[in-house]
Subunit: 200 residues, 2 copies
DNA sequence: ATTACTTGCAACACCAATGTTGCATGTAAT
DNA sequence: ATTACATGCAACATTGGTGTTGCAAGTAAT
Protein backbone atom coordinates (compact mmCIF):
# COMPACT_ATOMS: atom_id res chain seq x y z
CA UNK A 1 0.00 0.00 0.00
CA UNK A 2 2.84 2.33 0.66
CA UNK A 3 3.74 2.58 -3.00
CA UNK A 4 0.93 2.15 -5.42
CA UNK A 5 1.79 5.15 -7.60
CA UNK A 6 4.82 3.79 -9.37
CA UNK A 7 6.08 6.91 -11.14
CA UNK A 8 9.45 8.28 -10.22
CA UNK A 9 8.25 11.73 -9.33
CA UNK A 10 4.81 10.60 -8.12
CA UNK A 11 2.50 13.15 -9.73
CA UNK A 12 -0.26 11.84 -7.47
CA UNK A 13 -2.80 14.59 -7.09
CA UNK A 14 -0.53 16.27 -9.62
CA UNK A 15 -0.60 19.74 -8.18
CA UNK A 16 2.43 19.70 -5.95
CA UNK A 17 4.95 20.25 -8.73
CA UNK A 18 2.89 22.98 -10.27
CA UNK A 19 2.52 24.75 -6.96
CA UNK A 20 6.25 24.76 -6.40
CA UNK A 21 6.81 26.26 -9.81
CA UNK A 22 4.22 28.92 -9.18
CA UNK A 23 5.85 29.82 -5.91
CA UNK A 24 9.31 30.03 -7.41
CA UNK A 25 8.15 32.13 -10.34
CA UNK A 26 6.22 34.48 -8.12
CA UNK A 27 9.18 34.71 -5.77
CA UNK A 28 11.54 35.65 -8.58
CA UNK A 29 9.11 38.24 -9.82
CA UNK A 30 8.30 39.81 -6.48
CA UNK A 31 11.79 39.66 -5.01
CA UNK A 32 13.19 41.32 -8.10
CA UNK A 33 11.05 44.32 -7.29
CA UNK A 34 11.50 44.13 -3.53
CA UNK A 35 14.22 41.91 -2.09
CA UNK A 36 12.76 42.36 1.38
CA UNK A 37 9.37 41.00 0.42
CA UNK A 38 7.50 39.05 3.06
CA UNK A 39 6.69 35.36 2.84
CA UNK A 40 3.09 36.48 2.98
CA UNK A 41 3.63 38.64 -0.10
CA UNK A 42 5.37 35.86 -1.97
CA UNK A 43 2.55 33.48 -1.10
CA UNK A 44 -0.12 35.92 -2.22
CA UNK A 45 1.73 36.57 -5.46
CA UNK A 46 1.82 32.84 -6.07
CA UNK A 47 -1.86 32.55 -5.27
CA UNK A 48 -1.42 30.32 -2.23
CA UNK A 49 -1.53 30.65 1.53
CA UNK A 50 1.58 31.37 3.50
CA UNK A 51 1.43 28.02 5.27
CA UNK A 52 1.48 26.26 1.93
CA UNK A 53 4.75 27.94 1.10
CA UNK A 54 6.14 26.77 4.42
CA UNK A 55 5.04 23.23 3.63
CA UNK A 56 7.12 23.30 0.45
CA UNK A 57 10.08 25.18 1.80
CA UNK A 58 10.97 24.63 5.41
CA UNK A 59 12.51 28.04 5.77
CA UNK A 60 12.89 31.28 3.89
CA UNK A 61 16.50 30.47 3.25
CA UNK A 62 15.52 27.16 1.73
CA UNK A 63 13.20 28.95 -0.67
CA UNK A 64 15.88 31.40 -1.70
CA UNK A 65 18.35 28.57 -2.19
CA UNK A 66 15.97 26.65 -4.40
CA UNK A 67 15.18 29.80 -6.29
CA UNK A 68 18.84 30.52 -6.87
CA UNK A 69 19.51 27.04 -8.17
CA UNK A 70 16.39 27.05 -10.31
CA UNK A 71 17.27 30.36 -11.94
CA UNK A 72 20.84 29.27 -12.52
CA UNK A 73 19.59 26.10 -14.19
CA UNK A 74 17.33 28.03 -16.53
CA UNK A 75 20.15 30.39 -17.30
CA UNK A 76 22.53 27.57 -18.17
CA UNK A 77 19.93 25.83 -20.31
CA UNK A 78 19.21 29.00 -22.25
CA UNK A 79 22.89 29.32 -23.05
CA UNK A 80 23.49 25.69 -23.90
CA UNK A 81 20.49 25.57 -26.20
CA UNK A 82 22.29 28.00 -28.47
CA UNK A 83 25.14 25.50 -29.11
CA UNK A 84 27.71 28.12 -28.07
CA UNK A 85 30.69 25.88 -28.88
CA UNK A 86 29.52 24.68 -32.27
CA UNK A 87 27.64 27.41 -34.06
CA UNK A 88 29.48 30.27 -35.76
CA UNK A 89 30.38 32.89 -33.15
CA UNK A 90 28.04 35.58 -34.38
CA UNK A 91 25.13 33.19 -34.71
CA UNK A 92 25.74 31.73 -31.27
CA UNK A 93 26.01 35.20 -29.78
CA UNK A 94 22.70 36.23 -31.23
CA UNK A 95 21.02 32.98 -30.25
CA UNK A 96 22.24 33.14 -26.68
CA UNK A 97 21.07 36.70 -26.38
CA UNK A 98 17.62 35.90 -27.65
CA UNK A 99 17.31 32.75 -25.53
CA UNK A 100 18.35 34.48 -22.36
CA UNK A 101 16.05 37.39 -23.00
CA UNK A 102 13.21 34.99 -23.65
CA UNK A 103 13.71 32.86 -20.57
CA UNK A 104 13.85 35.70 -18.13
CA UNK A 105 12.74 39.18 -18.87
CA UNK A 106 14.37 40.14 -15.62
CA UNK A 107 16.90 38.25 -13.56
CA UNK A 108 17.74 40.98 -11.24
CA UNK A 109 17.08 38.93 -8.15
CA UNK A 110 18.35 35.40 -8.60
CA UNK A 111 21.11 36.60 -10.89
CA UNK A 112 22.58 39.45 -8.91
CA UNK A 113 22.57 37.79 -5.56
CA UNK A 114 25.76 36.66 -3.87
CA UNK A 115 25.75 33.16 -5.23
CA UNK A 116 29.27 32.28 -4.24
CA UNK A 117 28.71 31.21 -0.68
CA UNK A 118 26.70 28.20 0.33
CA UNK A 119 25.37 27.73 -3.21
CA UNK A 120 27.97 25.45 -4.75
CA UNK A 121 25.54 24.17 -7.33
CA UNK A 122 24.45 27.57 -8.60
CA UNK A 123 27.97 28.89 -8.38
CA UNK A 124 29.17 25.98 -10.53
CA UNK A 125 26.53 26.68 -13.17
CA UNK A 126 27.27 30.37 -13.31
CA UNK A 127 30.97 29.68 -13.55
CA UNK A 128 30.32 27.24 -16.34
CA UNK A 129 28.24 29.73 -18.27
CA UNK A 130 30.90 32.34 -17.70
CA UNK A 131 33.53 29.99 -19.08
CA UNK A 132 31.37 29.12 -22.07
CA UNK A 133 30.87 32.79 -22.71
CA UNK A 134 34.56 33.57 -22.62
CA UNK A 135 35.27 30.57 -24.85
CA UNK A 136 32.77 31.86 -27.37
CA UNK A 137 34.27 35.32 -27.25
CA UNK A 138 37.66 33.78 -27.80
CA UNK A 139 36.43 32.04 -30.91
CA UNK A 140 34.82 35.28 -32.02
CA UNK A 141 38.11 37.02 -31.56
CA UNK A 142 39.92 34.45 -33.69
CA UNK A 143 37.22 34.78 -36.32
CA UNK A 144 37.81 38.51 -36.47
CA UNK A 145 34.47 39.42 -34.99
CA UNK A 146 35.92 40.84 -31.79
CA UNK A 147 38.84 43.23 -31.71
CA UNK A 148 42.11 41.49 -30.97
CA UNK A 149 43.73 42.28 -27.67
CA UNK A 150 40.48 43.28 -26.00
CA UNK A 151 39.79 42.20 -22.41
CA UNK A 152 37.43 39.27 -22.81
CA UNK A 153 36.17 39.28 -19.25
CA UNK A 154 35.35 42.97 -19.42
CA UNK A 155 33.59 42.24 -22.67
CA UNK A 156 31.61 39.49 -21.02
CA UNK A 157 30.53 41.76 -18.20
CA UNK A 158 29.49 44.43 -20.66
CA UNK A 159 27.52 41.78 -22.50
CA UNK A 160 25.74 40.73 -19.31
CA UNK A 161 24.97 44.35 -18.53
CA UNK A 162 23.54 44.95 -21.98
CA UNK A 163 21.29 41.93 -21.69
CA UNK A 164 20.19 43.07 -18.28
CA UNK A 165 19.37 46.49 -19.62
CA UNK A 166 17.51 45.12 -22.62
CA UNK A 167 15.55 42.82 -20.34
CA UNK A 168 14.13 45.79 -18.46
CA UNK A 169 12.73 47.08 -21.70
CA UNK A 170 11.49 43.61 -22.59
CA UNK A 171 8.99 43.77 -19.76
CA UNK A 172 6.95 46.04 -21.97
CA UNK A 173 6.32 43.24 -24.41
CA UNK A 174 8.87 44.33 -26.99
CA UNK A 175 10.07 42.12 -29.78
CA UNK A 176 12.72 39.77 -28.45
CA UNK A 177 14.56 39.58 -31.75
CA UNK A 178 14.73 43.33 -32.05
CA UNK A 179 16.14 43.54 -28.53
CA UNK A 180 18.70 40.81 -29.21
CA UNK A 181 19.78 42.58 -32.37
CA UNK A 182 20.21 45.79 -30.51
CA UNK A 183 22.26 44.14 -27.78
CA UNK A 184 24.61 42.41 -30.18
CA UNK A 185 24.90 45.49 -32.33
CA UNK A 186 25.72 47.67 -29.36
CA UNK A 187 28.21 45.16 -28.03
CA UNK A 188 30.06 44.99 -31.33
CA UNK A 189 29.82 48.50 -32.70
CA UNK A 190 29.10 50.62 -29.67
CA UNK A 191 27.35 53.92 -30.20
CA UNK A 192 30.08 55.90 -31.90
CA UNK A 193 30.22 56.94 -35.52
CA UNK A 194 32.21 54.60 -37.79
CA UNK A 195 34.96 57.01 -38.74
CA UNK A 196 34.46 58.94 -35.53
CA UNK A 197 36.95 60.72 -33.31
CA UNK A 198 36.92 57.76 -30.97
CA UNK A 199 40.62 57.22 -31.38
CA UNK A 200 41.43 60.76 -30.31
CA UNK B 1 22.46 82.41 25.83
CA UNK B 2 20.39 80.40 23.46
CA UNK B 3 22.47 81.46 20.47
CA UNK B 4 26.08 82.19 21.16
CA UNK B 5 27.47 80.27 18.20
CA UNK B 6 26.42 82.54 15.41
CA UNK B 7 27.23 80.39 12.39
CA UNK B 8 24.41 79.26 10.17
CA UNK B 9 25.09 75.56 10.48
CA UNK B 10 26.46 75.76 14.05
CA UNK B 11 29.63 73.68 13.89
CA UNK B 12 29.72 73.71 17.70
CA UNK B 13 31.62 70.68 18.85
CA UNK B 14 32.12 70.17 15.14
CA UNK B 15 31.65 66.43 15.07
CA UNK B 16 27.97 66.17 14.34
CA UNK B 17 28.28 66.90 10.62
CA UNK B 18 31.18 64.54 10.27
CA UNK B 19 29.32 61.77 12.04
CA UNK B 20 26.35 62.14 9.73
CA UNK B 21 28.62 61.89 6.72
CA UNK B 22 30.29 58.82 8.10
CA UNK B 23 26.94 57.18 8.68
CA UNK B 24 25.68 57.98 5.21
CA UNK B 25 28.85 56.75 3.55
CA UNK B 26 28.87 53.56 5.54
CA UNK B 27 25.19 53.03 4.83
CA UNK B 28 25.72 53.41 1.11
CA UNK B 29 28.61 50.98 1.21
CA UNK B 30 26.97 48.33 3.37
CA UNK B 31 23.49 48.56 1.85
CA UNK B 32 24.96 48.17 -1.61
CA UNK B 33 26.22 44.77 -0.54
CA UNK B 34 23.19 43.86 1.54
CA UNK B 35 20.00 45.91 1.20
CA UNK B 36 18.59 44.18 4.25
CA UNK B 37 21.44 45.24 6.49
CA UNK B 38 20.60 45.96 10.11
CA UNK B 39 20.82 49.37 11.73
CA UNK B 40 23.34 47.72 14.01
CA UNK B 41 25.45 46.74 11.01
CA UNK B 42 25.24 50.21 9.52
CA UNK B 43 26.25 51.73 12.82
CA UNK B 44 29.19 49.40 13.26
CA UNK B 45 30.34 50.07 9.70
CA UNK B 46 30.23 53.78 10.45
CA UNK B 47 32.15 53.23 13.66
CA UNK B 48 29.39 54.44 15.95
CA UNK B 49 26.81 52.94 18.27
CA UNK B 50 23.35 52.11 17.05
CA UNK B 51 21.77 54.66 19.35
CA UNK B 52 23.89 57.38 17.80
CA UNK B 53 22.44 56.57 14.42
CA UNK B 54 18.97 56.82 15.87
CA UNK B 55 19.80 60.21 17.31
CA UNK B 56 20.68 61.49 13.84
CA UNK B 57 17.92 59.75 11.96
CA UNK B 58 14.64 59.26 13.74
CA UNK B 59 13.77 56.17 11.76
CA UNK B 60 15.28 53.78 9.29
CA UNK B 61 13.15 55.27 6.56
CA UNK B 62 14.47 58.72 7.39
CA UNK B 63 18.01 57.46 6.98
CA UNK B 64 17.25 55.88 3.62
CA UNK B 65 15.55 59.03 2.45
CA UNK B 66 18.49 61.19 3.42
CA UNK B 67 20.83 58.71 1.81
CA UNK B 68 18.89 58.78 -1.42
CA UNK B 69 18.89 62.55 -1.59
CA UNK B 70 22.54 62.75 -0.59
CA UNK B 71 23.63 60.31 -3.27
CA UNK B 72 21.54 62.04 -5.90
CA UNK B 73 23.13 65.35 -4.97
CA UNK B 74 26.63 63.96 -5.27
CA UNK B 75 25.70 62.40 -8.56
CA UNK B 76 24.37 65.65 -9.95
CA UNK B 77 27.38 67.57 -8.75
CA UNK B 78 29.79 65.13 -10.34
CA UNK B 79 28.02 65.59 -13.65
CA UNK B 80 27.70 69.36 -13.47
CA UNK B 81 31.36 69.76 -12.55
CA UNK B 82 32.22 68.46 -16.01
CA UNK B 83 30.48 71.38 -17.72
CA UNK B 84 28.43 68.98 -19.82
CA UNK B 85 26.76 71.74 -21.82
CA UNK B 86 29.85 73.77 -22.60
CA UNK B 87 32.84 71.50 -23.09
CA UNK B 88 33.34 69.61 -26.35
CA UNK B 89 31.18 66.45 -26.28
CA UNK B 90 34.03 63.98 -26.09
CA UNK B 91 35.81 65.92 -23.39
CA UNK B 92 32.64 66.30 -21.36
CA UNK B 93 31.88 62.63 -21.74
CA UNK B 94 35.25 61.62 -20.46
CA UNK B 95 35.14 64.14 -17.62
CA UNK B 96 31.71 63.05 -16.48
CA UNK B 97 32.78 59.45 -16.52
CA UNK B 98 35.86 60.11 -14.46
CA UNK B 99 34.02 62.36 -12.00
CA UNK B 100 31.25 59.91 -11.43
CA UNK B 101 33.66 57.04 -10.99
CA UNK B 102 35.64 59.10 -8.53
CA UNK B 103 32.73 60.18 -6.40
CA UNK B 104 31.15 56.83 -5.98
CA UNK B 105 32.91 53.56 -6.51
CA UNK B 106 29.57 51.84 -6.26
CA UNK B 107 26.10 53.28 -6.51
CA UNK B 108 24.20 50.15 -6.61
CA UNK B 109 22.09 51.01 -3.62
CA UNK B 110 21.09 54.66 -3.74
CA UNK B 111 21.07 54.60 -7.51
CA UNK B 112 19.00 51.53 -8.23
CA UNK B 113 16.36 52.09 -5.64
CA UNK B 114 12.85 53.12 -6.55
CA UNK B 115 13.44 56.81 -6.27
CA UNK B 116 10.28 57.89 -8.00
CA UNK B 117 7.88 57.67 -5.09
CA UNK B 118 8.08 59.92 -2.08
CA UNK B 119 11.49 61.22 -3.13
CA UNK B 120 10.59 64.18 -5.29
CA UNK B 121 13.91 65.86 -4.63
CA UNK B 122 16.05 62.90 -5.66
CA UNK B 123 13.75 62.12 -8.55
CA UNK B 124 14.11 65.67 -9.82
CA UNK B 125 17.89 65.48 -9.65
CA UNK B 126 18.05 62.18 -11.43
CA UNK B 127 15.73 63.43 -14.11
CA UNK B 128 17.86 66.50 -14.53
CA UNK B 129 21.02 64.47 -14.89
CA UNK B 130 19.26 62.23 -17.36
CA UNK B 131 18.23 65.25 -19.40
CA UNK B 132 21.72 66.68 -19.29
CA UNK B 133 23.08 63.37 -20.43
CA UNK B 134 20.72 63.14 -23.37
CA UNK B 135 21.48 66.75 -24.27
CA UNK B 136 25.17 65.97 -24.30
CA UNK B 137 24.61 62.89 -26.42
CA UNK B 138 22.59 64.99 -28.81
CA UNK B 139 25.45 67.42 -29.17
CA UNK B 140 27.80 64.49 -29.63
CA UNK B 141 25.59 63.20 -32.37
CA UNK B 142 25.62 66.53 -34.16
CA UNK B 143 29.38 66.66 -33.81
CA UNK B 144 29.68 63.30 -35.50
CA UNK B 145 30.86 61.49 -32.39
CA UNK B 146 27.74 59.37 -32.04
CA UNK B 147 26.13 57.51 -34.91
CA UNK B 148 23.20 59.39 -36.37
CA UNK B 149 19.80 57.85 -35.87
CA UNK B 150 20.81 55.92 -32.78
CA UNK B 151 18.43 55.72 -29.81
CA UNK B 152 19.84 58.26 -27.37
CA UNK B 153 18.01 56.95 -24.34
CA UNK B 154 19.20 53.42 -24.96
CA UNK B 155 22.68 54.87 -25.34
CA UNK B 156 22.33 56.66 -22.05
CA UNK B 157 21.25 53.49 -20.29
CA UNK B 158 24.16 51.61 -21.77
CA UNK B 159 26.42 54.37 -20.58
CA UNK B 160 25.05 54.12 -17.05
CA UNK B 161 25.50 50.36 -17.13
CA UNK B 162 29.09 50.65 -18.29
CA UNK B 163 29.90 53.07 -15.51
CA UNK B 164 28.25 50.79 -13.02
CA UNK B 165 30.29 47.87 -14.26
CA UNK B 166 33.52 49.82 -14.24
CA UNK B 167 32.76 51.01 -10.72
CA UNK B 168 32.75 47.42 -9.46
CA UNK B 169 36.27 47.04 -10.72
CA UNK B 170 37.22 50.38 -9.25
CA UNK B 171 36.81 49.00 -5.76
CA UNK B 172 40.13 47.29 -6.25
CA UNK B 173 41.92 50.61 -6.36
CA UNK B 174 42.32 50.73 -10.14
CA UNK B 175 43.29 53.84 -11.99
CA UNK B 176 40.22 56.02 -12.46
CA UNK B 177 41.44 57.47 -15.73
CA UNK B 178 42.10 54.05 -17.18
CA UNK B 179 38.59 52.97 -16.22
CA UNK B 180 37.03 56.09 -17.68
CA UNK B 181 38.93 55.58 -20.90
CA UNK B 182 37.73 52.03 -21.10
CA UNK B 183 34.13 53.05 -20.49
CA UNK B 184 34.14 55.75 -23.15
CA UNK B 185 36.00 53.55 -25.58
CA UNK B 186 33.57 50.69 -25.11
CA UNK B 187 30.58 53.00 -25.41
CA UNK B 188 31.80 54.46 -28.68
CA UNK B 189 33.51 51.56 -30.39
CA UNK B 190 32.03 48.50 -28.70
CA UNK B 191 34.04 45.31 -28.72
CA UNK B 192 33.83 44.39 -32.39
CA UNK B 193 36.58 44.56 -34.95
CA UNK B 194 36.65 47.77 -37.03
CA UNK B 195 35.95 46.18 -40.38
CA UNK B 196 34.19 43.27 -38.71
CA UNK B 197 31.22 41.26 -39.86
CA UNK B 198 29.04 43.29 -37.54
CA UNK B 199 26.93 44.50 -40.37
CA UNK B 200 26.09 40.99 -41.53
C1' DA C 1 36.25 74.00 37.01
C1' DT C 2 32.13 74.68 34.71
C1' DT C 3 29.29 74.45 30.78
C1' DA C 4 27.61 72.59 26.44
C1' DC C 5 27.38 68.94 23.77
C1' DT C 6 27.96 64.31 22.07
C1' DT C 7 28.75 59.54 22.43
C1' DG C 8 28.57 54.61 24.16
C1' DC C 9 26.23 51.36 26.79
C1' DA C 10 22.57 48.82 28.94
C1' DA C 11 17.90 48.07 29.40
C1' DC C 12 13.40 48.20 27.80
C1' DA C 13 8.79 47.89 25.19
C1' DC C 14 7.07 47.00 20.73
C1' DC C 15 6.15 44.92 16.56
C1' DA C 16 6.34 42.40 12.41
C1' DA C 17 7.97 38.31 10.19
C1' DT C 18 8.96 33.52 10.83
C1' DG C 19 7.91 29.01 11.61
C1' DT C 20 4.56 25.58 13.80
C1' DT C 21 0.34 23.08 14.67
C1' DG C 22 -4.46 21.48 14.38
C1' DC C 23 -8.55 21.27 11.99
C1' DA C 24 -11.91 21.69 8.39
C1' DT C 25 -12.44 21.59 3.50
C1' DG C 26 -11.87 20.08 -1.21
C1' DT C 27 -10.65 16.95 -4.82
C1' DA C 28 -9.07 13.02 -7.38
C1' DA C 29 -8.18 8.45 -7.20
C1' DT C 30 -9.70 3.59 -5.28
C1' DA D 1 -17.91 5.85 0.34
C1' DT D 2 -13.31 5.61 1.53
C1' DT D 3 -8.65 6.78 1.06
C1' DA D 4 -4.83 9.80 0.12
C1' DC D 5 -3.31 13.94 -0.46
C1' DA D 6 -3.13 19.11 -0.60
C1' DT D 7 -4.81 23.40 0.69
C1' DG D 8 -6.72 27.40 3.46
C1' DC D 9 -7.42 29.27 7.80
C1' DA D 10 -6.80 30.48 12.51
C1' DA D 11 -4.04 30.47 16.40
C1' DC D 12 0.22 30.37 18.64
C1' DA D 13 5.25 30.82 20.28
C1' DT D 14 9.58 32.71 19.03
C1' DT D 15 12.75 35.74 17.38
C1' DG D 16 15.23 39.63 15.77
C1' DG D 17 15.09 44.41 14.43
C1' DT D 18 13.32 48.95 15.76
C1' DG D 19 12.88 52.83 18.39
C1' DT D 20 13.22 54.81 23.28
C1' DT D 21 15.19 56.21 27.60
C1' DG D 22 18.49 57.04 31.35
C1' DC D 23 23.00 57.41 32.77
C1' DA D 24 28.01 57.67 32.87
C1' DA D 25 31.97 59.24 30.38
C1' DG D 26 34.54 62.05 27.25
C1' DT D 27 35.90 66.39 24.91
C1' DA D 28 36.17 71.19 23.61
C1' DA D 29 34.96 75.56 24.61
C1' DT D 30 34.13 79.33 28.50
Amino acid sequence: MTVQKQQTKRPLRADSERTVRAILEAAERVLAANPAATMEQLARAAGVARTTVHRRFATREALLDELTDWAARQFAEAVDAARPDAAPPLVALYQITANVLRVKTDWSFAMNRPVEDSHPEAARMHAEVRATCVRLFCRAQEAGVLRPGIDLDWTRRVYYALIHEAAKEGAGGEDIDALATRVVDTLLRGAGAPGGLAGA
